[in-house]
């Protein structure tokens, strides 16, 4: 190190944060340079003071006073309770607002709400029943198709005999292998060898 180190390097050296090569260069320079020797001694003293600043005294009852000011544990579990309470509160506010604006009695409002829910359910229920019926028909048709396929395969095997089955399986396996290797080759096109 030919030039004098910067204060940042001196602090880093004192913290052990300078790499071994740089640290040795700094030590060699400090041996030769009286100004830097003095600067390093000064920073060393300061560094010692910086790192031994006393902590603040905390009153012994501080933790107790913090705990006394905390809300109840239920209040911090905001998972579903918060939104539920908020929606119930907004419903009540909405009902009261409607009551105040229209002048209708609370029982009228509740009756109107009940009618609304009832009419919505009356519209939705037949639609849900139709969907269920269609799903049942589709399930039965697919089960019939599978049974038919199994039956056809059984009849075919019985007709061709064991040698025929072996031939069909062999040809099928070979076809499958060819398809697999063909696909692999097709996918690896353009890659480095």
């Amino acid at each position: 190190m030919t030039t004098c180190p910067r204060p940042g390097d001196l602090y880093l050296y004192l913290e052990g944060g300078l790499g071994p090569y740089k640290a040795r260069a700094l030590e060699e320079h400090v041996e030769r340079c009286a100004g830097c020797r003095e600067a390093l001694a000064e920073r060393r003293l300061l560094h010692e003071a910086f790192t031994t600043l006393p902590p603040f005294e905390v009153p012994p009852d501080f933790a107790a006073s913090v705990m006394a000011g905390l809300p109840e544990p239920e209040e911090i579990r905001s998972g579903w309770l918060g939104p539920l309470v908020a929606s119930a509160a907004s419903l009540v506010v909405g009902l009261l607002g409607f009551n105040l604006l229209t002048g209708a009695g609370l029982s009228d409002v509740l009756l109107a709400c009940g009618r609304l829910v009832g009419s919505a359910a009356a519209g939705l229920l037949p639609f849900a029943a139709k969907c269920f019926k269609i799903a049942a028909i589709l399930a039965r048709a697919s089960a019939d198709l599978a049974a038919m396929l199994f039956e056809a395969a059984g009849t075919g095997f019985r007709t061709v005999g064991p040698w025929g089955v072996a031939l069909v399986l062999g040809l099928g396996g070979a076809g499958l292998l060819l398809a697999l290797f063909g696909a692999r080759r097709h996918l690896s096109q353009g890659e480095e060898p």
Binding site: R6, P7, E42, A63
Partner: protein
């Protein structure tokens, strides 16, 4: 804030305590408060310069921490998370009070090296003849006079003993910038002590 071995032990302890506190165990949160009350008030005391204000802030911060425990991710160090909340709390307070703050995105007094002169001409040594206790007193007084952006990084490094990487996490700054600012703070302190 500690050695690596103690760090991992302390981290797992903190994670366990947080998990218990989230289940409603108030004793577990009290243990967290007892563990961090001193480092937190030491930080806040140096940042505000008033003991009573520091204790009030600490109380508010612990309340904030308690209410947002659910958002703590165990992948991070609890102390880093706590001090991030504390730092943001102080910034909010200063903003509300309209106390001028120095942005950490801008260099303090010009460019980063403005406060880092070469040491070939060190001038007369002022601290050599002083005893450590006296120096500490001078540091405490000088601390109150440097910009809070530098003071905060200095306090986190030397009072709370966070690593530069942890401070970078807390403040959301690059590690190099944090190191530079801590050195700037030290040199400013040295200059202010010299002038006092």
């Amino acid at each position: 804030m500690n050695t690596r071995g103690q760090d991992s032990l302390s981290k797992s302890d903190d994670v366990r305590l947080v998990a218990r506190a989230l289940k409603g165990d108030r004793k577990a949160f009290e243990m967290i408060v007892r563990k961090y009350e001193q480092p937190l008030t030491s930080y806040l005391g140096r940042m505000t310069g008033e003991r009573e204000a520091a204790l009030d802030f600490a109380q508010e911060i612990f309340l904030k921490v308690y209410c947002s425990l659910g958002s703590y991710r165990p992948a991070y160090k609890f102390s880093t998370w706590l001090f991030k909340i504390a730092s943001n709390h102080l910034i909010d307070h200063w903003r509300k009070k309209k106390i001028p703050t120095v942005s950490l995105d801008q260099p303090v007094d010009g460019d980063d090296d403005a406060l880092l002169p070469q040491v070939a001409d060190p001038g007369p040594s002022v601290v050599r003849k002083l005893e450590l206790a006296e120096i500490r007193q001078k540091i405490e007084r000088a601390l109150a006079t440097i910009p809070e952006a530098l003071r905060e990084l200095f306090v986190l490094r030397h009072v709370n003993e966070f690593s530069y990487e942890e401070i970078a996490d807390i403040k959301g700054l690059p590690v190099g910038t944090v190191k530079n600012r801590v050195f700037q703070a030290k040199e400013l302190l040295r200059e202010r002590m010299e002038g006092s």
